[in-house]
């Protein structure tokens, strides 16, 4: 019988990514609810020295799959390795992060294992011994509470920045073990040729702690420096509404909304964004929402914790100055 909770750690260039700690913390809570062990699967090349990171967050075991062909990430190699390990060990619950890599991996892994997979979940619970996952659908215009039927392991991905990270306990450690797997070069059909770093150096919107976003009210691409200035002071990334992106003012990667990125920062500052439903869908899981708009009737104010009715061209620069007092 399937037993145990597994989380798949995500690392890049040997650095453990924050989502991995969110997963191990949530995995511990679920393992406790089931009365079972928590195993973290760490995959990469020359990665074993990072395995000690997970014990303080509650992992009982860290299984390390180490092979030069597992760096950088490719779908082929990771799916091959993880599916072998899952079949050999039969965990009951398998959690990944809903990062770009995690979404890619989880989709193919679920297909290889022929199991259902709940993508981009915001709440997990154990009910009657089963994983129950809550996930936004229609980009958050509705929520689905789902569970699994004849589908083991019960598999899901967690939306980044939603699961809280536990306070690490340095006195705790996990048993580290080597994973047994084989990799056939003939199965590796894709290859990462190049990695182009994002020159802006800004934190991706899906991982950002704070976001300052601008919409049609920005009037043109030349005015975004106003938002950049505020973002610089408070340590935020700059996003945009669909209308600003479709107008060519900002790159596609900046779009927040149903057909763009779905974000959950601690602070979301919407400037000159009226609050079209497809935009609200993409940012409604933000913890604190601020709206700055000169139209007092704009729908964004219905979602905002703090609303400022005023011209963003006056309010945002003033806010930038005021914010300096607190950072």
């Amino acid at each position: 019988m399937a037993q145990g909770v597994w989380t798949i750690a995500e690392q890049r260039d040997g650095e453990i990514r924050k989502i991995s700690y969110e997963l191990v913390s949530e995995g511990r809570r679920l393992a406790d609810a089931l009365g079972q062990e928590l195993t973290v699967l760490l995959i990469g090349s020359n990665i074993k020295d990072k395995a000690a990171a997970f014990g303080p967050y509650g992992a009982n075991k860290v299984m390390v799959a180490d092979d030069s062909r597992l760096e950088p990430y490719t779908t082929d190699a990771y799916v091959s390795v993880i599916s072998q390990l899952v079949k050999a060990n039969e965990p009951a619950v398998l959690l990944l992060g809903a990062s770009v890599q995690g979404k890619d991996l989880a989709g193919r892994l679920a297909a290889r294992l022929d199991v259902a997979m709940a993508q981009d979940c915001t709440v997990f619970a154990i009910e009657g011994g089963n994983l129950v996952a809550t996930r936004p659908i229609y980009a958050g215009k509705a929520y689905a509470k789902v569970t699994f039927e004849n589908s083991w392991p019960q598999m899901a991905t967690a939306r980044p920045k939603v699961m809280s990270v536990s306070e690490p306990d340095p006195s705790k450690s996990a048993e580290v073990m080597d994973a047994a797997f084989t990799l056939d070069d003939a199965d590796l059909k894709t290859k990462v040729m190049d990695v182009v770093k994002d020159e802006s150096g800004k934190v991706d919107l899906t991982e950002a702690d704070k976001i300052v976003s601008g919409g049609r009210g920005m009037k043109g691409p030349e005015n975004y420096y106003i938002l950049e200035a505020l973002a610089d002071v408070i340590g935020a990334s700059v996003g945009a509404s669909r209308s600003a992106v479709d107008a060519g003012w900002r790159p596609h990667s900046d779009q927040v909304g149903q057909t763009g990125k779905v974000v959950s920062p601690n602070l979301y500052v919407a400037c000159g964004i009226s609050g079209a439903i497809q935009h609200l869908a993409g940012m409604s899981t933000s913890k604190v929402i601020v709206a700055i708009n000169k139209d007092a009737d704009a729908p964004i104010f219905q979602k905002a914790d703090y609303g400022v009715v005023g011209d963003l061209f006056d309010v945002v620069p003033a806010l930038t100055e005021e914010a300096k007092k607190y950072v």
Binding site: A111, Q119, Y143, V192, Q278, F301, Y306, D314, E322
Partner: protein, 264 residues
């Protein structure tokens, strides 16, 4: 080169979604159904590759009869032929089952590339592409914003933006690509295109036509069970920050964000 594009219909993104009284489905009255926006990027990219490398573009849709409209739209944009997988037994199926039906419709066709949207903007699962690629035993390249097929037509080079970086990935063909926003700007169907589309072949297939057993589909075969659909957690409108001037309002806001919300 021969390309297959998969598409589905979703509620227009301006739609207000209402949960039905059964708490298992959404209210579909008055919904305007459109081609999934990410699938449109797939159609456009397939057409651009066809224009450059020659070959044929086949559009495969799954769903009720209304999906014919979106397949005709793709044909009007320039695709060559369409297949609609439509069967009452598909009602209530999950994405795994959908992908298996699409795989059955595709497996005997000649193809070098398959496009799907990176996800449907309805259930937001994003697993049809991966499941289809697995069923056909071909590599998948997901969330792609740039596609270049090699001159010899044997490999493809793509770009996948991840958090803070863009990966340049090569793959053998055939392969499946899931389209992300930024890949292209889909064209509008021209009037002559719309006229021509009416004469292009569009075959309708039932599960039986595809050699599939309806017992493997529908709500009863779901591996993911919906316990309940709910409206999103209510977000109460908060406070309007007081002040006479923009400076006063900004000062109040910064103070509230620091003292009360504790995010500054």
């Amino acid at each position: 080169m021969n390309i297959i594009v998969c598409l589905k219909q979703v509620p227009d993104t301006e739609t207000q979604i209402k949960v039905g009284s059964d708490r298992q489905s959404i209210v579909t009255d008055d919904i305007k159904w459109v081609m999934n926006p990410y699938d449109e990027y797939g159609v456009e990219e397939a057409l651009r590759l066809k224009e450059k490398h020659g070959g044929e573009v086949t559009v495969v849709g799954l769903g009720p009869k209304r999906v014919t409209e979106s397949i005709r739209t793709a044909l009007a944009m320039g695709a060559d032929k369409g297949i609609l997988i439509s069967d009452g037994a598909l009602d209530g199926s999950d994405s795994l089952a959908h992908a298996k039906a699409i795989a059955a419709a595709i497996k005997d066709l000649q193809y070098d590339l398959i496009f799907t949207g990176q996800r449907g903007v309805d259930d937001d699962l994003g697993i049809v592409g991966a499941t289809l690629a697995e069923a056909l035993n071909i590599p998948q390249l997901s969330l792609i914003v740039k596609v270049e097929v090699a001159e010899d037509g044997k490999s493809v080079k793509v770009q996948r933006p991840i958090e803070g970086e863009t990966l340049v990935i090569t793959s053998t063909l055939p392969a499946l690509i899931t389209a992300q926003k930024g890949l292209n700007e889909p064209r509008y169907a021209s009037l002559p295109g719309i006229m021509k589309a009416k004469k292009k072949p569009l075959a309708e297939k039932s599960l039986a036509d595809l050699g599939l057993n309806s017992a493997d589909f529908g709500a009863g075969a779901r591996k993911m069970k919906i316990l309940e659909l709910t409206p999103p957690p209510a977000r109460e409108a908060g406070k309007i920050v007081p002040g006479e001037t923009p400076q006063e309002k900004a000062a109040q806001l910064a103070k509230l964000l620091h003292d009360e919300a504790k995010v500054l």
